[in-house]
């Protein structure tokens, strides 16, 4: 699937990730929770690729696998032609320079005991970059670039003296200072207020243009994913259900899950509907399925085989894939 593999910067190939969950405090042997189930996708250089899913869908696990915070149980995660989990120690330093991550919560991701300067300069020290003078200039330049101007005013502040938006700018400066090729941004704006979110989203777009970045954007918010990305991948319970160009997925969703998700998104323009249908006391998180489509219990279009078999991703139009038996006629 997708376009030719040789040009992709990132390749997920049949990646499965199991987490062992202890059943109780006393009994050690536990059950495996499948966070990712044979997930495959490829990210092209220079694109913004969004992974969209609800909580527990496995979207964050994908990001963590990519920056080598986790190892896949099976399958391969490949960055620039090399498998991430088998990088030799010499290569790891290079990998860590080229791949960076921005976390969701700027209140937790910054060390409260470090000043802005100490936080942003740290990657340069680890990578043994230049002289002290050089590093100082580089940090100032980076802070200005992420909108902390004048940089002098921010260098010696601590995180608690910054607003949420400013903290996230610091986190972005830290991620960008080594001129990475690839950045994983995990819900980078979801903790912030709307007017600040918009500022940061535009800044990410500008950074991407200026530095020719490739970005994996992880979010639960389809509207934000649409705004930022070239392609959107919809993931549910560890499976990729739909993948395609952003506009195509939003305007013409093919998988019933994506359709349901889009219907539930509240929008500023939508007028209030008539009274909703009576509530069904269904536990949405339950309804497990064994081997079948993860969405079948809630799917308005499900048929008998959805329960036993899962539909493979099928190309429904140019570059747009969906995993549903509906497309098989």
């Amino acid at each position: 699937m997708n376009s030719p593999g040789s040009q992709s910067l990132v390749i997920f190939s049949e990646v499965t990730k199991l987490y062992r969950r202890r059943q109780s405090l006393l009994r050690r042997a536990g059950v495996d929770v499948k966070a990712l189930d044979r997930v495959s996708f490829q990210i092209q250089p220079g694109e913004i690729f969004s992974l969209v899913g609800e909580s527990g869908s496995g979207k964050t696990t994908c990001g963590r696998l990519l920056v080598r915070l986790e190892e896949p149980t099976s399958g391969q995660v490949i960055f620039d032609g090399k498998e991430v989990s088998s990088l030799k120690s010499g290569r790891i330093r290079e990998f860590r320079r080229r791949v960076q991550m921005i976390f969701q919560d700027p209140y937790q991701s910054l060390n409260p005991q470090l000043t802005v300067f100490q936080t942003v300069v740290e990657p340069l020290l680890v990578q043994r970059y230049g002289s002290h003078k050089h590093r100082e200039e580089r940090v100032e330049q980076m802070l200005e670039e992420v909108g902390l101007r004048p940089a002098q005013d921010f260098l010696f502040r601590y995180p608690h003296q910054l607003s949420g938006g400013q903290r996230q700018r610091v986190a972005i400066a830290r991620a960008m200072i080594l001129e990475p090729t690839f950045v994983v941004a995990d819900e980078p704006v979801s903790m912030l207020d709307a007017s600040i979110q918009a500022q940061l989203l535009n800044m990410l777009l500008d950074l991407k243009e200026r530095h020719n970045l490739t970005l994996l954007f992880i979010t639960h918010d389809l509207a934000t994913a649409r705004y930022l990305s070239d392609r959107i991948c919809v993931i549910f319970k560890g499976r990729v259900l739909e993948l395609g160009p952003a506009e195509s997925v939003i305007q013409n969703p093919r998988h019933p899950y994506t359709q349901a998700l889009l219907k539930a998104v509240p929008t500023v323009n939508r007028r209030k509907e008539a009274l909703p249908p009576p509530a069904c006391p269904v536990d949405l998180l339950a309804a497990p399925s064994k081997g079948g489509c993860p969405f079948y219990a809630r799917c308005p279009d499900c048929s008998g085989r959805c329960q036993e078999q899962e539909a493979p991703l099928q190309e429904v139009e140019q570059g747009h894939y969906s995993a549903c038996f509906l497309h098989y006629g």
Partner: protein, 319 residues
Amino acid sequence: MKPLVVEDLTVHYLTARGTVRALEKVFLELRSGEALGLVGESGCGKTTVAMAVLGLLAPNARILGGKILLDGRDLLSLGPEEMRSIRWKKIAMVFQAAMNALNPVHRVGEQILEAIRTHDGQMTDQKAAQRLEELCAMVGLDPARMKDYPHQFSGGMRQRAVIAMALSCNPSILIADEPTTALDVMVADQILGQLRRLQVEMGLSILYISHDISVIARSCDRMGVMYAGQLVEFGPTDEVLQRPLHPYTQGLMRSYPQIQGPRKRLEPIPGEPPNLLDPPQGCRFCPRCPENGGACPSERPPWIEYHKDHFALCHRIQV
């Protein structure tokens, strides 16, 4: 029909770093059976309004002026005992992140029963159990699951349980503070649908408080927009969203990525909200406002009704 009116409410917080001017002359009017929304960014004072209405402000809060009228009675003049008779029985609240505050070692049903009993100690077991079942039906919970513990509930179910507790004394007004934050999109949609059902079918008046303008857009008949402790716009939801008057509301509308229509570049509001220890003298939005000028920095703007029922707090609006 106005069961709840907040008039010119001014609240300060006394802190070690100085006086936080949290609310300045805020106005609100909740009509009987309507859904009213209050939208604003973090720290704008929207939760302070709710806490003032319930008489639950923090000890360092000082009410400097204004009235909170419930059926014509000023709640601010009531003593703690009288206030207790109104809280939960007339006005109930679903607090922010309350679904995480359920006691993990007690069964969900017991906790709802406790809420029912606290306010009517005389109730027989049979009556209480009956009431529990009614509440389950109202919020869409399976009565069979009442023996479960909170950790066996999903986020959406816990939120429903918390709403059931708030409704246990049959209040006429419900304040819902960020009722769907931290819930997944589809679950949030169901919870909002359930609240709407309660509002329409039972004539409940609901005050929604949210940072998310789309939650307000989905649920509310009328809405107010707050910024840095001031109410800057108030009116019918469709009016406010389609013809926003205040430059802040206009900026907010341009800050949201949309799922419908063409994809256009967002136009964020520059800058950040002011520090309420030392807010601008006049209009608190003026340092970020494209229309800023004249009396804006020095004088509180006039509160004017520009269209029927549609108010804004601004020096610069020309109609």
